[in-house]
């Protein structure tokens, strides 16, 4: 996993609530057996018409949208299917941060496991960000804030201390759990005794 410290970018904004993982990456594109390449089909049915033509009205297809690394979206982002492909697709497309006022649980966990930072802000601050797609946004993980650059409008966000350390250092959970394998085996032995 890549380390994450700070990002500054104009945001791509999707003022839509309940964006589910079927919209982020439709099921028919989940057939790969590797993690790469899902960005191509990110928001597939919103970005492209049935015949495969890009929809010029969709935010991500508009001029100046490429290279934006922060996505700002309506509440309950990432609901629905547990597919981690949704986090992979956003990351592969180039996003490093998703800002919303509310995230679905599984998506949030998946994002954190892949170096994609989910940032929860208040409804009011989300509204400010959604209204200012042409102002740069700074997301600082060390200091835990989001700021609309040059305006002084800043909001602090929460992140669990363990996950923050993982994101800052690029660690993943498996490295950690493998380090306590002896405890796991001891736990299994103890449980066997209880259940026999």
């Amino acid at each position: 996993m890549e380390k994450f410290t700070r990002v500054q970018s104009k945001p791509a904004v999707l003022p839509i609530e309940n964006i589910d993982t079927d919209q982020i990456i439709p099921a028919r594109f989940l057939k790969a057996t590797t993690r790469e390449g899902f960005g191509e089909n990110l928001f597939r049915d919103w970005r492209f018409s049935a015949s495969g033509q890009p929809d010029p009205d969709f935010t991500l297809n508009q001029p100046g949208q490429a290279c934006r690394t922060v996505l700002v979206a309506g509440r309950n982002f990432g609901c629905g299917s547990s597919r981690e492909h949704a986090a992979w697709a956003l990351y592969d497309y180039g996003f490093r941060v998703v800002v919303s006022s509310f995230f679905a649980d599984i998506f949030k966990g998946n994002a954190l496991n892949n170096g994609l930072l989910p940032v929860t802000v208040s409804e009011d601050f989300l509204a400010v960000l959604l209204e200012n797609p042409d102002k740069e946004v700074v997301v600082d993980l060390e200091e835990q804030y989001v700021e609309l650059a040059g305006t002084g409008q800043r909001e602090y966000f929460e992140i669990n201390a363990y996950k923050k350390t993982c994101m800052l250092n690029g660690y993943d959970d498996i490295d950690y759990i493998l380090s306590i394998k002896k405890k796991i085996i001891a736990f299994e032995e103890k449980r066997k005794k209880i259940f026999v």
Partner: protein, 468 residues
């Protein structure tokens, strides 16, 4: 006296291997179910790390998401699907995981086969790379969906790093009215608390209406927990649970079973526990439900009309209108009488034997509406076999329907079973998201009975008009 505990707390606390300071708990996982779509990258990860699958005997695999529902004896035609299923077979062989793949008499939707094989039992922790893993909570186990990185974690260590969620109890008291099923009950709950109302919580369903449900019906309720945002839902194990589990393939037998039951009997939530959130509903208020929008919280009683924009909270109006535009429906209008082109009966929500019985009981002696395409997909080979043994296939056949072969099918349309663009489908599945059942498809979620009424009439109907 000890602090009173919830069912969830009892199961959770018995599985904590270690606690990370200011971090998550290390939770031991008893059973890991895997399928072809969310496992290949996890197996790949193990190989890259050069570590073995830690507890292959606690891992069970099946092929369900991608598989065709006709001619399963033939090679899968779609190349990428075939490759994914072949990769699963190869990985299971290499790592010593039991696989109930295509052609196996136990093959089926992962959340249907776990319970029917007795793999799912009270008091366990179970995970799967699929959000509807919540289904298994019907037995009083902690069961939830995980992403592929976590699938890899469980493969590597049989553990997961998890934060303990908040607790919610949803009680439904009283008796369900005729024509009202577990699916209606859960769609009703979601319509009341919204598609995100359960986020951050683990739900316990309680109350007399829940206790009176069969295991199949309880599974339908727990299955949809994720559709209110909750990670999972559980129901306290009772005699109904024990009777279901008894004698199943992988359930404890004889004296072991008796011992297990006496442990399971201690699991229900203690008196005096305070939940972080409580809801109580009256079963008598629930009518057959149907969704009109593009998330499962957008449900109404089948006799009601679609809400008007003015009745929707202002901040939700854009999304509301977007949904209606997608569905090509108008605010304030009723859904009853709406013509539909497709009916799908299946998915981990409603593909069990009781669901097929309910559908068959309604269509018996009636004929399918001309021009309506109906896909009836059993949840597993065992459900299919039982349906044939009970003669349900003959009832279906004489009413103009066919039973297909098991898989996830048109619930998520990864295989060929796609609802065409612009078509309306009354579906017993769990999600009505845009394009969920195929690009441009429009889904009305409902119960198997409401699906049967739509299949016979060719339009959305109130099943109560047809029962005594």
């Amino acid at each position: 006296m000890n602090q009173p505990k919830t069912l969830f707390d009892k199961v959770w606390d018995a599985h904590v291997v270690d606690k990370i300071e200011e971090g998550p708990d290390v939770l031991y996982i008893d059973k890991h179910l895997i399928h072809e779509v969310t496992s290949p990258q996890a197996f790949d990860g193990l190989e890259k790390r050069r570590i073995p699958l830690f507890r292959p005997k606690q891992t069970v695999a099946t092929a369900d998401h991608n598989v065709p529902t006709v001619d399963q004896h033939l090679p899968i035609r779609e190349e990428l699907s075939r490759k994914q299923v072949d990769t699963l077979t190869e990985n299971c062989g290499k790592h010593g995981v039991a696989l109930y793949g295509l052609g196996h008499p136990y093959q089926g939707i992962v959340h249907v086969i776990g319970p029917e094989l007795g793999i799912t039992q009270p008091g366990l922790t179970m995970v799967c790379g699929d959000s509807h893993t919540s289904t298994h909570g019907a037995f009083g186990s902690i069961a939830f969906g995980i992403g592929t990185s976590q699938v890899e974690q469980v493969m590597a260590t049989q553990c997961l790093l998890q934060y303990k969620p908040k607790s919610m109890r949803i009680s439904v008291e009283g008796e369900l009215k005729a024509g009202v099923t577990a699916k209606d009950l859960v769609l009703y709950i979601i319509s009341k608390i919204s598609a995100s109302g359960g986020t951050g919580y683990f739900v316990e369903y309680a109350g007399s209406a829940i206790r009176n449900l069969s295991m199949e019906a309880r599974m339908t309720v727990c299955n949809m927990s994720i559709e209110m945002g909750a990670r999972g839902g559980m129901i306290a194990p009772d005699q109904t649970t024990f009777d279901y589990v008894k004698e199943r393939e992988f359930a404890p037998k004889g004296k072991d079973f008796e011992e297990a039951v006496s442990a399971w009997e201690k699991l229900p939530t203690d008196e005096g526990v305070v939940f972080d959130k409580e809801y109580t509903f009256d079963a008598a208020d629930i009518e057959p439900m149907i969704t009109y929008g593009t998330n499962p919280g957008m449900g109404i009683g089948v006799s009601q009309s679609i809400p008007r924009s003015a009745e929707i909270e202002e901040k939700n109006r854009i999304s509301f209108q977007k949904s209606l535009d997608y569905m090509q429906l108008e605010e304030g209008k009723p859904l009853q009488g709406k013509k539909i082109g497709y009916v799908f009966v299946g998915s981990c929500t409603n593909s069990r034997i009781e669901d097929l019985r309910a559908f068959a009981s309604f269509v018996k002696g009636r004929q399918k509406a001309p021009g309506v395409n109906v896909w009836i997909v059993p949840g597993s080979k065992q459900v299919e076999k039982q349906a044939v043994e009970e003669g349900l296939d003959r009832i279906l056949h004489s009413s103009g329907f066919e039973l297909r072969e098991p898989g996830c099918s048109a619930c998520l349309a990864m295989n060929e079973d796609k609802i065409p663009p612009g078509e309306y489908c009354v579906s017993t599945s769990n999600r009505n998201f845009e394009g969920r059942q195929g690009p441009g498809s429009r889904t009305f979620l409902a119960s198997p009975l409401t699906a049967a009424a739509a299949a016979i009439n060719g339009y959305i109907s109130d099943v109560r008009d047809f029962i005594d």
